[in-house]
Amino acid sequence: MTRTLTHLERLEAESIHIMREVVAEAEKPVMLYSVGKDSAVMLHLARKAFYPSPPPFPLLHVDTTWKFQEMYKLRDRMAQESGMELLVYQNPEAKERGINPFDHGPLHTDMWKTEGLKQALDHYGFDAAFGGARRDEEKSRAKERIFSFRTASHGWDPKNQRPELWNLYNARKAKGESIRIFPISNWTELDIWQYIHLNDIPIVPLYFSAKRPTVERDGLLLMVDDDRFPLHEGEVPVERSIRFRTLGCYPLTGAVESEASTLPEVIQEMLLTTTSERQGRVIDKDGGDASMEKKKQEGYF
């Protein structure tokens, strides 16, 4: 008697296998936790991989201080529920200089996220970091390995990555080098949603439609999440039924007008929609076509 495993069962088994390999072979692993839906799935997989032990690594949130309030709430709750240590890192230089998305443009992402992540990894001495990137997100990611090696200065060289055969991962590295590991590389956006649905995984309520205060700017619908949002002259926040397809810093994340207030409705909308997931995020647009690849070489996840 054989039983055909579903695609989600196979993906889950693969992700768990990857996480266990890292824990067995790395000295000091950490899970990057961004509080988005992909992070939610990653955390759930980690809990499954090591149950009944709690996952034997901490969660690291590289914070920009500009995330949505509801993200901070869920972050703290999930850390408590999973029994994992939560480390929050904010780049002290960005903090001191008051770097923000309104006044500093691309520098905001560069300082808080790219630099912040490098600093955090160096600060705590992590040699392996789990990230939630998926190959279906963007063209340059389709070729990313599951184990991605970074030099001591966190650089990524797309020409010098190791071949990955079968499910054998080579985690050996020189002192100072680190690995980024992407256990959900082979999941698609739909797989993520379906898995959240099937396993009742808690996610930030912003993914569901609700009346929220918004302003329209440069073609993006932005949510006025707190009173740090500088309104232009004549700009008045308008209550709209909106939700988010992807979550980041609130001034950089475009909302979509939507009535989808349950998971199946969200999935339905996702499947019937005609624009790709990352379009709501400003980050991909600077630098044109190959911008994500460029960011990766610089050390952004």
């Binding site: 054989t2 039983r3 055909t4 495993l5 579903t6 695609h7 989600l8 069962e9 196979r10 993906l11 889950e12 088994a13 693969e14 768990i16 296998h17 266990r20 390999e21 824990v23 067995a24 809990r47 499954k48 991989a49 090591f50 149950y51 009944p52 032990s53 709690p54 190959r135 279906d136 063209k139 340059s140 389709a142 070729k143 797309p158 190791r162 071949p163 990955e164 055969l165 079968w166 499910n167 054998l168 080579n170 050996r172 082979n186 698609t188 739909l190 379906q194 199946p264 409705e265 339905q268 499947l271 019937l272 929609t273 005609t274 624009t275 790709s276 379009q279 190959a290 690849e293 460029k294």
Partner: protein, 635 residues
């Protein structure tokens, strides 16, 4: 043209719950596409993504503008642009790595490994094929079976892909000519039989026009098979066969949250398991019974190949990472010498005799590879004599691990028969291989236990055995200083022995020359002799150039921790050459002497030697004294 809209779209809009229910139960098929640069591979994948609605409007708009700007299809959509990813590749118009794409139909979800077609990338194709259940081999109908087609087919068969689709593409460009198609298929069938491909499924398609992709095309009314998508949706998946094999669970991690729980975590690679099943833990061979299969959502009644699980035993049996839990009555073999096919994947060619790491399942051991019995020309399938394996070469060789590993023939288990080789210094993955069988001699040679061990030998001599490994350029003063150190140790009533490079080459190693392979073997033998002498309780001094870091590291690994003392006799090349005691540098410079370290063969200086002596600043006597001081106490 075929209808690009799937029925699922209607279901998504009308009844999302029903759609989710359907999607949830889909199985997964992983496949690769192989073809030459112009066979239309990227176009086919782009077409599959497009037809299964995996392309969004913004991507489509970008695609349309890109098609006009850099596309190769005139005003029509160039699907290939959808899948060519990295910036450099887009400029060159070729894919240079393995890329993974995703799409789904009503019945299945698919992961496509897009593998490049050109010659130097055997490595990438092999990588993409290693996780595939099926291969689509593309042929340009205008060109027929090419050398590349043969190579791709050979590699797919070598890595064990049983489902092969022969997609005769660009049928539109030969006016859907059945006779031409039949001739190509017959041609391929003859070749396939030759290399041992038992069956394949041919189909006439056009990735560009969409013929026989999602639906049967009116242009090929004579074709009686299924369209490509339907075939992919219905073909049997390997995973089902794995479940019929005997139970195998390579242990990744021991789960021990508290004293009351001890579980063993891993991905089941073969068979199935239930509580109550008798199992054997290899390589030790102890038996126990499975009591529970533990998951976050509760205990399982059964788990099958392909699932990641945690199991518990009825007894306190030793079991750790690298062990394999197997069906008690049908365990895999254990051995330390094998024959294997190896695919070389690194710019730095295979060093015969050098130790590499071998990772197989969750086992990591040291391994040496013998000179290949032959290499395979992947275009002609001819066997060629080979001294080593260069990048993208495939060969058959014997290999020996430093301790026994649990394995199965690759034909029986990809997990317990497939391995990678890792360079110990650079940490790169330099090769991959497939075990054929273990060599009989490994099973017939057993370690004979002796009652008087190394501790007893050392205790009688009242000293701690050590290997003082002098390394440095020719003429650096290794032999002189080693001799001085031995004299002083002797005065201190220590039992010593000095192994000198030149002296050993008069006897034990007189069959060896100075090629890289011979130098590696020279050091391996000296290492083994030094180890025996250390086992006998002696303080061994060796004076060899030993230019390669990897071999010095190999000797270090042979000895208990702390017994290998690397002494770097640090002399700049100019100084050593100026001394030229034996006149060797002069000969090397004039070309009379080849492979001379420092001249036309590299010297890899130690990075962290235990002791370093600088012979420019110290006399031999001073250097010896410095070394002795660093060695104290000698007990």
């Amino acid at each position: 043209m075929t209808d690009p809209i799937y029925k699922t779209d209607a279901l998504i809009a009308e009844d999302i719950d029903a759609y989710l229910e359907q999607h949830q139960h889909k199985s997964l098929l992983r496949f690769i596409t192989c073809g030459s640069v112009d066979d239309g591979k990227s176009t086919l994948i782009g077409r599959l993504l497009y037809d299964s609605k995996m392309i969004f409007e913004d991507q489509l708009e970008a695609l349309q503008s890109d098609s006009r700007r850099v596309g190769t299809q005139g005003q029509e959509i160039d699907f290939a642009l959808l899948v060519d990813g990295l910036a450099a590749e887009r400029e060159q118009g070729i894919t240079i790595d393995v890329a993974y794409r995703f799409f789904a139909t009503e019945k299945r979800k698919f992961i496509v490994a897009d593998c490049p077609g050109h010659e130097q990338y055997t490595r990438n194709m092999f990588t993409g094929a290693s996780t595939a259940d099926l291969a689509v081999i593309l042929i340009d109908a205008r060109k027929g079976v090419l050398v590349q087609t043969r190579r791709h087919s050979y590699l797919c068969n070598l890595i064990g892909i049983k489902n092969i689709v022969l997609a005769v593409n660009k049928m539109d460009l030969i006016d859907y000519d059945q006779a031409r198609y039949d001739a190509i298929v017959a041609d391929y069938a003859a070749f396939a039989a030759e290399i041992g491909i038992k069956s394949f499924t041919p189909m006439p398609i056009s990735g560009f026009k969409g013929d026989n992709i999602t639906a049967i095309s009116a242009n090929t009314a004579w074709y009686t098979g299924k369209p490509l998508i339907e075939h992919l949706e219905t073909v049997e998946i390997d995973n089902a066969n794995e479940q019929l094999k005997p139970f195998r669970l390579p242990v990744q991690w021991v789960n021990r949250p508290n004293l009351d729980f001890r579980g063993f975590s891993g991905l089941i690679s073969g068979g199935s398991v239930k509580p109550g099943d008798a199992v054997r833990v290899l390589p030790g061979g102890k038996t126990s019974t499975i009591t529970r299969i533990v998951t976050l959502e509760g205990e399982l009644e059964e788990a099958v190949a392909g699932q990641s699980v945690t199991v518990c035993f009825a007894d306190e049996v030793d079991c750790s990472r690298g062990n394999v839990i197997a069906a008690a009555d049908n365990p895999p073999e254990v051995s330390d010498q094998f024959e294997a096919t190896i695919v070389w994947m690194d710019d730095d060619a295979l060093h015969v005799g050098r130790t590499y790491w071998l990772k197989l399942g969750t086992q990591m051991v040291s391994v040496t590879v013998q000179q290949p019995k032959y290499a395979i020309n992947v275009n002609t399938m001819d066997h060629l004599a080979a001294k080593t394996l260069e990048l993208n070469a495939i060969g058959v060789a014997e290999l020996a691990t430093d301790k026994p590993i649990v394995f199965e023939a690759y034909a029986d288990s990809r997990t317990l028969g497939g391995f990678i080789l890792i360079d110990k210094i650079s940490n790169r993955t330099v090769g991959a291989g497939m075990l054929h069988f273990s060599l009989r001699r490994a099973q017939n040679v057993h370690w004979q236990p002796t009652d008087i061990g190394r501790e007893e030998h050392a205790a009688l001599k009242n000293q701690k055995p050590r290997v003082l490994w002098f390394t440095g350029l020719s003429g650096s003063g290794k032999s002189t200083i080693a001799n001085e150190v031995e004299k002083q140790l002797h005065l201190m009533n220590r039992h010593t022995f000095l192994l000198d490079g030149d002296n050993v080459r008069h006897g034990l190693n007189r069959d060896l020359g100075f090629t890289e392979a011979d130098r590696i073997e020279n050091i391996r033998r000296v290492g083994e002799v030094a180890k025996l002498m250390a086992d006998a309780g002696l303080i061994v001094l060796t004076a060899f150039i030993s230019p390669f870091r990897a071999e010095r590291e190999m000797v270090r690994q042979m000895l208990p921790e702390g017994e290998f003392i690397e002494i770097f006799v640090d002399t700049p090349l100019e100084v050593a050459e100026a001394r030229d005691v034996k006149g060797l540098y002069k000969k090397a410079r004039s070309g009379q002497l080849r492979n001379f370290t420092g001249i036309d063969s590299p010297y890899e200086a130690p990075e962290n030697p235990e002791i370093r002596v600088n012979t420019v600043e110290m006399t031999p006597a001073e250097a010896a004294e410095h070394i002795i001081r660093r060695l104290l106490p000698l007990k």
